[in-house]
């Protein structure tokens, strides 16, 4: 029954846009940059992504405007192809296949003669090696004045190759000079119409080389401003490095320089538009800044920032439904999943970031939202060698007017040691919001919004500590609130303690020795009586809180356990990227798949869908309300690959349309009917019951105590029976079937995704009709009449009676 083919992992974006130097088009209107496996075209004025040039099957390693036609651009990729695009319309024009030898990691510079041909797919065969042993960094290789020579630097050597003379000159530097500076080349730039090469070095020096067309008589002058490596140079003698200051040197009067400071993060690439009016800088935080004539930042294109580690878990902002994680140092980023765009950065640390390597900075390590999105709690810490840990707990209130978070309370040193876990009480209706933080100092603390005092009304309410708890001096690890906020579970190594937040009584302890608890999670909705935990000894335990006993446990190496906030489902990621989705109340998993992706899944989150999907596949039903997003280890290892992936269901219907009701009773009926008559069994199976009927959904999902009384239902039910009396039983069933298939056709128009399999199903339904063609057909009027009577759509009760 469980099929996995229809659930697939989709890469949802967040690729690097700062991997290679961006290119500004001749008219300065567009900006092209390599982004993962595609080339993105941005508008320089509006920052919007205009086209996504897709086609490469591997990482795009370079983009270039075609010199002869400035409306076309080349892109090369690690898949061994060079593609020519019309970037204004986003059309692929040509594909050139390069022999595979080129992409092997020898880093030879080769000249490729591109044959002129009309075909779209061309294989280039003529290759000639120009330079060997060049640096893998494309910034270290550059064409000089009008393409007369090419300069390439690697290590301590600068190599200049003259195409006309077919001659290469090499210039070497000593490894380091007297003052301990490192002379290693980092980047090269050539003057556009003068014989001058500028090279950037590891120690922050810039050298200007002249007279290099004579091996012996070359000269160089040195410029020094940067304190560490010059990471990028451009033809206008712009330089940038980790200081995140764009420096413009004046050619021939090098003592004068202009600065553009505080660009946000280390500069990795600098590009200049052909007319020199626009500069753009790529930054290490996945950002491209467009600068007008070295004075004004006119636009910022920001991608998903990937810090060294995602200290804060992936979170969903309940208001904007955006993904929240730590991004730039000291910031939280709000990233729209729908539009693959960074919405905004929230400055948590609020301190000037000092761009210097080896400096310990404040980092956002934990963050949590409350259920309504009104409060955000963040923890920042800074660990200095030999000094005490600096911790700050900050609470942010959502401000309706500015539509962003405003700092409400700063608690310095909330704990004496690192904070291991933090969570808000989920209860949305309660008057007071509560935050619980656990720390390695052996305590957990509850923080509460203190009542507003009378005299300092201007200050408003602030947070203060409400309770400090401990359990036998053990270190608390995880904490979790139950769905209604009436219980708090805190794990102390192998012991789970359950507290009542109202009275701060220790209610019970649960434990599953011998190993420490790794994850802790309460069930939701109908499963809220269950508490799930995973241990280091590869156990997944489920405790029943009513009996305070272990309900079930299974041996499973779970690395991540998370609950869907909108349903009972829980997802567990195993260490080998296996994914299990289950309900705590049911022993059988709803969905399981081995190796969802390569590499370990480090973080994951359920994001609610904007519209509920109406998939009936049992295995994909758990994705109806929310989508599962996860971050893989990949991101850390190989950051240029896809970072955020999405698990997404494709709604593919079998011939049997499955309703929630069918799930409950279908199998039972199938057995029974299959037993007595194969023919009718088929017909029953083919009976497409109302799929996604709102009434049924309502009826099935509303708790029994909210439903109208049985007597009320009964009379309606009997009324519906009265009609079936006029026709034969089979007829009514058939009529129903017809009606529902009609309905399904309506549905199918909405479900675009399911359209692929629609013909198949149509055929199946058609088959069903044919099989029962003997039965007298029902007129449309009758059908309408039937529909009118069954306003509550409880026709399924008839089926219940039948079986």
């Amino acid at each position: 029954m469980v099929e996995h083919g229809d659930i697939r992992v989709v890469h949802r974006g967040g690729s690097k846009i700062n991997f290679r130097k961006p290119v500004i088009t001749n008219d300065s209107r567009f900006l092209l940059c390599a982004s993962g496996e595609s080339v993105k075209v941005f508008s320089t004025s509006t920052e919007e992504c205009i086209h996504d040039l897709r086609g490469h099957t591997d990482l795009v390693t370079g983009v270039l405007i075609k010199p002869s036609n400035h409306l076309q651009a080349f892109s090369c990729s690690a898949d061994g192809t060079v593609r020519l695009w019309d970037f204004t319309d986003g059309i692929l024009i040509k594909v050139r296949l390069l022999p595979s030898i080129v992409v092997c990691p020898l880093f030879q510079l080769v000249a490729v003669h591109l044959p002129q041909s009309g075909d779209q797919l061309v294989e280039a065969r003529e290759l000639s090696a120009v330079l060997t042993g060049i640096s893998s960094n494309p910034a270290a290789t550059v064409f000089g004045r009008g393409g007369e020579y090419i300069a390439s630097a690697n290590g301590l050597q600068l190599e200049v190759y003259f195409f006309k003379k077919q001659k290469a000159y090499r210039f070497s530097l000593k490894e380091d000079n007297k003052k301990g500076g490192k002379n290693t080349f980092t980047c090269v730039a050539c003057h556009p119409n003068d014989d001058c090469i500028a090279t950037g070095h590891e120690d922050g020096k810039i050298r200007l080389w002249r007279n290099f067309n004579h091996k012996k008589e070359y000269t160089y002058s040195t410029l020094h401003w940067h304190h560490s490596a010059v990471s990028s140079l451009s033809t206008n003698l712009l330089s940038g490095g980790i200081e995140s200051v764009l420096v413009q040197w004046r050619y021939n009067q090098e003592n004068q320089r202009d600065f553009l400071p505080r660009l946000g993060a280390a500069i990795t690439h600098i590009a200049v538009s052909p007319d020199g009016a626009l500069y753009c800088t790529s930054h290490s935080d996945n950002k491209i800044t467009i600068i007008q004539s070295c004075v004004k930042v006119s636009a910022v294109i920001q991608g998903l920032v990937k810090g060294e580690s995602v200290g804060t878990d992936l979170m969903i902002d309940p208001r904007s439904k955006s993904l929240v994680l730590n991004g730039k140092p000291g910031h939280l980023q709000f990233y729209s999943l729908q539009r693959d765009k960074l919405l905004y950065n929230l400055d948590i640390v609020q301190q000037e970031y000092i761009h210097e390597s080896g400096l310990q900075q404040f980092e956002v390590v934990k963050a949590a939202f409350d259920a309504s999105g009104n409060w955000l709690a963040t923890v920042e810490e800074r660990k200095q060698k030999g000094a005490e840990l600096e911790l700050n707990l900050k609470l942010w209130a959502f401000d309706e007017q500015t539509q962003s978070f405003v700092l409400n309370t700063t608690i310095s040193a909330p704990h004496e040691a690192q904070i291991t876990g933090m969570c808000f009480s989920h209860a949305t209706d309660s008057q007071t919001t509560m935050l619980v933080s656990t720390s390695k100092d052996g305590h957990f603390k509850a923080w509460q919004l203190a009542a507003q005092s009378q005299t300092d009304a201007d200050e408003g309410p602030s947070w203060s500590c409400d309770f400090v708890g401990a359990y036998h001096g053990l270190v608390p690890e995880c904490c979790s609130f139950s769905a209604d906020g009436s219980l708090l579970a805190v794990s102390f190594q192998e012991v789970v303690t359950v507290w009542s937040p109202a009275s701060w009584e220790l209610l019970t302890t649960l434990s599953q020795p011998p190993k420490a608890i790794r994850n802790l999670c309460f069930g939701r909705l109908s499963c809220s009586k269950y508490l799930l935990g995973t241990t280091d000894s590869n156990l997944l335990c489920c405790w029943n809180l009513l009996t305070c006993s272990l309900e079930w446990s299974t041996s499973m190496d779970v690395s991540l356990l998370l609950a869907d906030p909108l349903s009972e489902n829980m997802a567990a990621f195993c260490c080998q990227a296996g994914l299990f989705v289950f309900k705590p109340s049911e022993p059988r998993p709803l969905f399981s798949q081995k190796a969802v992706c390569s590499g370990m899944v480090t973080r994951a989150v359920f994001a609610p869908r904007e519209e509920m999907l109406e998939s009936c596949e049992e295995s994909s039903q758990w994705l109806n309300r929310s989508q599962l997003y996860f971050l893989t280890q990949y991101m850390v290892n190989n950051t240029n690959r896809s970072a955020v992936k999405e698990k997404k269901s494709l709604v593919i219907d079998d011939s049997v349309a499955m309703t929630p009701f069918y799930l409950l009773l279908g199998k039972h009926r199938q057995q029974q009917q299959g037993g007595d008559d194969p023919q009718s069994g088929v017909s029953a199976e083919r009976t497409p019951l109302p799929q996604g009927s709102v009434a049924i959904k309502e009826l099935l999902q509303t708790p029994a105590h909210v439903l109208p009384s049985t007597s009320f239902l009964c009379s309606m039910f009997v009324q519906s029976l009265l009609i079936s009396v006029t026709d034969s039983r089979e007829e009514s069933k058939h009529a129903e079937e017809e009606m529902e298939s009609e309905k399904e056709e309506e549905d199918s128009e909405e479900e675009i995704e399911s359209s692929r399999t629609r013909p198949e199903q149509q055929a199946a339904v058609g088959g069903g009709e044919a099989a029962e063609s003997a039965a007298p057909a029902m007129t449309k009027a009758q059908v309408r009449e039937l529909r009118r009577v069954k306003k509550l759509d409880h026709s399924w009760l008839a089926g219940l009676l039948d079986s």
């Binding site: 505080r262 000037e352 700063t410 005092s453």
Partner: protein, 535 residues
């Protein structure tokens, strides 16, 4: 280009008591007027009619003459003095119309005065011992007296005859009140620990309450449903309507409570005690909301109508009168502050709304930075520290200096900023350290700075006597602090064993809370060992 983010100055919680509505209200009194009386002031009573004169009962030890002074509400000289007492007078009280005044006496005679006259109108003889309690009944024609002969009596004023005698108390009667609503009801409190409610229509008490201590003072709420009694260290509130059920027992003084009074709106209860404090309680939850300190043990306390003044009599025979500040006066004080530019200056031109065809020329908003931030922006670390160490900042706003030091530390340039100072600069820095190192708010930052200073300058120790002296002072300071921490830890250990023996969970929680507050003070000893300073 992002703007420069200024140095974050940490906001520390304000130390000291919190400012509440109550403290504002009760602090809004002028400096007290002090009047030297002839002896301990035993009773103060305000006249119920305007201009609310008050009668002060005091005696001199020298001649055992006893006075009842009547003061005007704002005068410092007595309006009138009654001196016709042979012995110590007690409990001078006004009648509800303010025309008559009654006072008891050590010589057991109760005297009734006309406020206008000097000679006693009536003398009630009958008690055998000193009369400490006198009061008018609500019908204004009878007088209640209570005496040390264990009796309380009712007298008729027109006939000056004794109406009734109640002999139920078994000790001195030292306080009593009459009901303002019912002419027949009165309550007496005695040193036999009991309060008795008498009804003049029957010949005995109708209700008895046990206070547990000798009763010093009694007070009836205006509604007369609640009775407050003071005796020993306790103030107790009784519900008369529930048959004298105790409602609350307050133990906020550490010596005998001598006097009680109620604020005019009935929301606050004041109690005065021999421990020199007057405490103000909220009458809804009986929490102390304010506290007055006085120079000597307080014997009597009275509050003028509308809380216009607080009058306190003390054992050192000083009468202290605090008058409420008039609204103009409280305004005057704020008006005395520096004149600021008017609001118009700031909004000048800013509230102009652009019209449709206007071309908007935007001007970048200039960011105003503090001096030290300007230096930090230029990476002038030494100069930044210098500006932060300017005298005014150092003394008035040490948190700014500390924040700059912290910022420099974060930037990894604190070493550079501290180094290369001359004798004067170094001694300035050391002075600041001496002043603030042991402050638990600043200690973590300053300890790092102190260690760095020692590392940098240990080679020049011995060259400058000024610096050497300061280093020695710093060492002394730290040694003292360490001793102090040691003591605190000992206390903590004692508490620990105490809580362990009680074994109650709530106490354990309390312990955790206290242990949370202690580490703030203990880390100095953990971090900075004196050995480091000896280099």
């Amino acid at each position: 280009m992002a703007s420069f983010k200024p140095t974050k100055i940490q906001v520390y919680p304000k130390l000291g008591e919190k400012v509440t509505q109550d403290t504002l209200y009760w602090k809004n009194y002028k400096a007290p007027v002090q009047i030297k009386e002839f002896g301990a002031v035993t009773h103060i009573d305000f006249s119920p009619v305007a201009p609310h004169n008050f009668a002060v009962t005091a005696f001199t030890r020298v001649c055992w003459h006893l006075f009842v002074h009547i003061y005007g509400p704002f005068s410092q000289e007595p309006v009138k003095t009654f001196t016709r007492f042979k012995d110590t007078a007690y409990s001078g009280r006004f009648r509800s119309d303010g025309q008559l005044l009654v006072a008891g006496c050590e010589d057991s005679v109760v005297r009734l005065f006309d406020v206008g006259g000097k000679v006693a109108l009536r003398m009630f003889r009958g008690h055998t011992k000193a009369v400490h309690v006198t009061d008018f009944t609500s019908d204004r024609y009878q007088i209640l007296t209570g005496s040390d002969d264990y009796t309380c009596r009712l007298w008729d004023i027109p006939n000056s005859t004794e109406l009734n005698t109640y002999q139920e108390h078994t000790d001195y009667i030292r306080c009593g009140v009459t009901s303002k609503l019912n002419r027949d009801l009165f309550i007496t409190g005695s040193y036999d620990h009991t309060l008795k409610l008498f009804d003049a229509r029957v010949d005995r008490s109708v209700m008895t309450m046990d206070h547990g201590q000798p009763v010093e003072s009694l007070l009836l709420y205006p509604s007369e449903g609640l009775l407050v009694s003071a005796g020993g260290r306790y103030v107790k509130v009784w519900d008369l309507l529930k048959g004298g059920q105790p409602l609350v027992s307050l133990k906020n003084h550490h010596k005998t409570v001598t006097s009680l009074c109620l604020s005019t709106n009935g929301q606050r209860l004041l109690s005065a005690s021999l421990d020199r404090h007057v405490k103000v309680y909220n009458t809804t939850n009986y929490k102390v909301v304010h506290n007055f300190d006085y120079a000597a043990s307080i014997l009597s306390l009275a509050l003028a109508p509308d809380d216009e003044s607080i009058v306190v009599g003390m054992t050192n025979s000083i009468l202290s009168i605090k008058h409420r500040k008039s609204p103009e006066e409280s305004k005057e004080i704020s008006g005395q502050q520096r004149r600021r530019p008017s609001y118009r200056v700031f909004v000048k031109g800013k509230n102009y709304v652009p019209k449709q065809d206007d071309y908007l020329v935007s001007k970048p908003v200039k960011q105003h930075l503090a001096k030290y931030d300007k230096q930090l922006k230029k990476f002038n670390v030494s100069k930044a520290l210098d500006t932060a160490l300017e005298t005014w900042t150092r003394h008035r706003k040490p948190e700014i200096t500390v924040a700059v030091i912290k910022e420099l530390d974060r930037r990894g340039t604190l070493n550079n900023a501290l180094a290369g100072r001359d004798e004067q600069g170094l001694s300035q820095l050391l002075n600041f350290l001496i002043g603030n190192l042991v402050d638990p708010r600043f200690a973590p930052v300053l300890v790092t700075a102190a260690e760095m200073i020692l590392d940098i300058y240990h080679s020049v120790i011995g060259q400058s006597p000024v610096v050497d002296r300061q280093l020695l002072r710093l060492q002394e300071l730290l040694e003292r602090e360490i001793d102090y921490q040691q003591d605190l830890l000992e206390v903590l250990g004692m508490l620990d064993t105490m809580f362990a023996s009680t074994g109650l969970e709530c106490l354990c929680n309390l312990f955790f809370e206290t242990s949370d507050t202690f580490p703030d003070m203990t880390f100095v000893s953990h971090r900075l060992h004196p050995a480091r300073l000896l280099v």
